[in-house]
Symmetry: C2
Subunit: 197 residues, 2 copies
């Protein structure tokens, strides 16, 4: 059971434009030609921030056209937000506030032997990293640059560095890079966080 | 003869920290284990911005320890800056101001059959792109994130996108991604720029 930050990004490290558009992403290739189908088959629970969740709500039409359903996930999904957000039909949703640690314990219980997917955004993935709970970063690097936008992973992670596990080319539109995440310095000090119980 | 932006970057798209440090880069691997030796063998002229050049001046000691010389390039080098900068012993330097087009014509003449290397920074590479003079972007993606710093390529380049030509893993510290650059929309309109003479 791993906790994985799996995402597409521009070559220059942006998940989306400043106004949360990912329109640049769709022309680059078909998601079914990527490692996504085999990835999602091993996912037992999802985590996403409010920007990602609200993008899903706003683009229900696009999502349905791409996937066949306006909410394409059968897995239970934890939405992290300090605000009260609307639900969506057909989704198993848990709205979470505050530290990711408590929610991670619940996600782990729900996922069983399967993995936890941190869908985004970058700061939510960073919070899992800060808590020592992130095992892998899997990035589909799209063949574009955005110049500015929503950051991939707003953290300094250099010592120890990530460990590149594999690279894979998917046409001319994507490179998939898979990394193992070292435990954050804070998480290497002994602790009794709920996530480790 | 190609004009190539060849650089190392963090996974999240930064060439250096905000204070121009690339100390995170050296522990990731030995430059001689990368494609650099075969790349530099085909380079006939270099272009760099003032931050890159001044980094070389400030770190003459580090550069000498890594390469055996405080100025490791035998090729003529164009330094783009609006300021007057000191020279360095053993280097063939041309100080250039203003548009990259005029200088590119001189670099092309100097390089002969070989390539022009845009060393950095990202905005200088962007200026070559804006002028329709950039053919390839070759990125060594280091297995770190910096969170903030000097941007890889401060341009929006999505339509048409870059064309991923190859990917290559170098240990756990680097992934090399090679892209062909589409001509910028501006350069596709007929023009008689000096660079095309």
């Amino acid at each position: 059971m791993k906790t994985q930050f799996y995402t597409a990004t521009s070559l220059d490290g942006f998940l989306a434009t400043e106004d949360d558009s990912i329109d640049w992403l769709f022309p680059l290739g078909d998601i079914n030609d990527t490692g996504y189908p085999s990835f999602i088959a091993e996912v037992g629970a999802l985590a996403m921030g409010s920007s990602t969740y609200e993008w899903m709500l706003r683009h229900a039409h696009t999502v349905a056209a791409e996937t066949g359903s306006s909410w394409p996930y059968s897995q239970p999904t934890w939405v992290f937000s300090s605000r009260t957000l609307p639900s969506v039909a057909g989704a198993t949703l848990h709205f979470a506030r505050g530290s990711v640690q408590l929610a991670h314990a619940a996600m782990r219980a729900a996922a069983g032997d399967k993995n936890i997917w941190v869908v985004g955004g970058g700061d939510l993935a960073g919070q899992f990293y800060d808590a020592g709970l992130l095992d892998e970063i899997i990035v589909q690097v799209g063949s574009v640059t955005l110049g500015k936008g929503k950051p991939l992973f707003p953290r300094r992670l250099t010592s120890p560095p990530l460990q590149l596990a594999s690279v894979r080319q998917m046409g001319t539109g994507f490179a998939e890079l898979r990394y193992r995440v070292p435990k954050s310095p804070a998480s290497r000090t002994p602790n009794v966080s709920i996530g480790d119980a």
